[in-house]
Symmetry: C2
Subunit: 438 residues, 2 copies
Amino acid sequence: MNPVRVGLLGLGTVGGGTFNVLRRNAQEIARRAGRGIEITYAAAREYDPARLPGIESVKVTDDAFAVVDDPDIDIVVELIGGYEPARELVLKAIANGKHVVTANKALIALHGNEIFSAAQQRGVMVAFEAAVAGGIPIIKAVREGLAGNQIEWIAGIINGTGNFILTEMRDKGRDFADVLAEAQQLGYAEADPTFDVEGIDAAHKLTILASIAFGIPLQFDKVYTEGISYITREDVSYAEQLGYRIKHLGVARRTAAGVELRVHPTLIPDRRLIANVDGVMNAVLVKADAVGPTLYYGAGAGAEPTASAVVADLVDVTRTLTADPENRVPHLAFQPDALSDLKILPVEDIETAYYLRMCASDRPGVLADITRILGDRGISIEAVLQKEPPEGEQQVPIIMLTRVVREKQMQEAIEQIEALQSVEGKVTRIRLEHLKSS
Amino acid sequence: MNPVRVGLLGLGTVGGGTFNVLRRNAQEIARRAGRGIEITYAAAREYDPARLPGIESVKVTDDAFAVVDDPDIDIVVELIGGYEPARELVLKAIANGKHVVTANKALIALHGNEIFSAAQQRGVMVAFEAAVAGGIPIIKAVREGLAGNQIEWIAGIINGTGNFILTEMRDKGRDFADVLAEAQQLGYAEADPTFDVEGIDAAHKLTILASIAFGIPLQFDKVYTEGISYITREDVSYAEQLGYRIKHLGVARRTAAGVELRVHPTLIPDRRLIANVDGVMNAVLVKADAVGPTLYYGAGAGAEPTASAVVADLVDVTRTLTADPENRVPHLAFQPDALSDLKILPVEDIETAYYLRMCASDRPGVLADITRILGDRGISIEAVLQKEPPEGEQQVPIIMLTRVVREKQMQEAIEQIEALQSVEGKVTRIRLEHLKSS
């Protein structure tokens, strides 16, 4: 089947990220979607070709309407942002019978009712996963994954800039203004930070979340919005002394009297998972009647995290372009004829770090014997914990953490350690994973 | 449009939960799916009608094959569990041209390749969201939400029983055998706990996750599996002293050499979000190339959490029963003509708890004045933090946490407090949410 032809509006941070992800993962994406997804036409006033390897094969114009009006384009991806001309472009694309994917939360929160109504009449889709919480598939989770539930409330950290500032204020005991200036330098905050720190960006996202949770029209103007600029480092510290963290939350709650829609700084008990979401990360906690609480965590902004959501929408839309059963989501995510025959490794070839616990005689040289056995196999030791011998006993527990090593090496080392006269019984070994994200 | 007719196999914990959720949320579900979803035929050897209000309107048989062979049934939901006769029933349903929804991880992990191949040939869907991590929509998130990514690794707490045991061992310094016995009494662990504590259940789920992440066939027999019964309370304590938590993880990782598939106890740095997932809760951490790390948290078992996933699958399958654009996922989750006109509350009517900080004279009676103002409006105080006056100053900061109250009451109270002679300047008030899940 021919690839789907995508017209991309905007080649800035998210537009560039989307171009790069679609190109880098083209094969993986086609294996999932059943056909290729190709950007064939793009609109941008200016862009940096050095950041976009392969862009030379794409027709680029500075006239976004030319892309929207091109009959060869199946799907328009709007990544310009802002209200206008984004609104006009999206409505034009719909009128032209094209499906639309957008990351534009301001557009959807304010003009979504109009846009969806036009799309409904024209029979096209408007997908907007990237508009809320960046790469976290929260729209899909709430709209489809929790479709069997009555949703009771949603509470989300949905602005990374605000969360970065509050995290720094807590970690380093710094003042709001001080951290904001740094965030601006690091590029986490805009030169005009109003949208982020005054909660407007979060209110856009909350508007969307509330609609898909409760089945109500988008009503941005009814969100109560409060920023974080009045929070002092003393507040952060007092809250901590009382067992709380301060987070800038968007809260949507269904009550008997009506729906609460509010964005404001909020104290949360520090043992809650969401209270421990730090830095620029986002998280959305959803309470629903059947499933109970579920939480979704990830990067809420940035070029490739946002692109991840845009591409997921492109795959979803691509599936609707034909009605064949082959266009459904494949059982195992990838098309049946596109499964790969990757080798599953035997456990001996697996690499992890290790925790080792052994019982050894409390006399000189024992630790040296053990570390020599490990060292001979290239196993580095990260930490050692040696306990006092229990009252009246000759044996002491020795605990070690190692760096990453191949399981086979560790098995051999353990056999040799267990053979030492000075070590009693078996060595307990538990694998250790740092689960670092980079 | 007529409701979709569902045949339910099994009226036990999950079957009963599914029946109850579909009935309780029938209206909400129909508003999303565009048509009703009704259980019209069920198979169960025995069941308790007292737990299933409304079951009297459903035809119940003790012959599951009668349901699978009934030409009036559109979708078969298999909630019997185990390998046989579940496998035979599912294959028969497929052969009869029916779509299938199942929560059966053992069945999918071991016989999924055969089942999906049969479904593919017959053009029907087999949906299995409930098979992994209960109510967390993790299949949907990985298979669709991250479709633009190359997935690098997945690490999941995907067995609630094991996580409950390890959490109790840490919290209370208890031994494995001791906690297991309690978990059995509480109904968190089966009389034969082998599947849970030896990691077989987790290996079933990991098999499925790895296939949808990497696009490889299901290969349960290649998962390296280790249980938690060898972990001692000393190991838990030593790990903690070193800054780690022990969790029973399923890990699937793509390396240059091949795919690692392993279930074993694992030390994780205690500052990681997933290290703080406690009790019977599940969480899956996914590292992908574009989006980076994302985490999905929720109840991994239980009647209604699992039913939540079963119903989400039913809604998905229902959408494929016709090819009309009207059967797509609606933009705002609910069908455009099924949006409701719920009132959005003005902020004065919102109810939360509060943190208050004020600066007051350091003399007797001040606190009494403040608490009287609050008490007169029915505002209860949860905690007070009174600091020493800074060197040479007459004013002390007073911090209070209140219980939940209506915003309007609080605004009035704050105005009165600010009018007190003994209180200087403005009162800082930050809202407080406990975000309790029940």
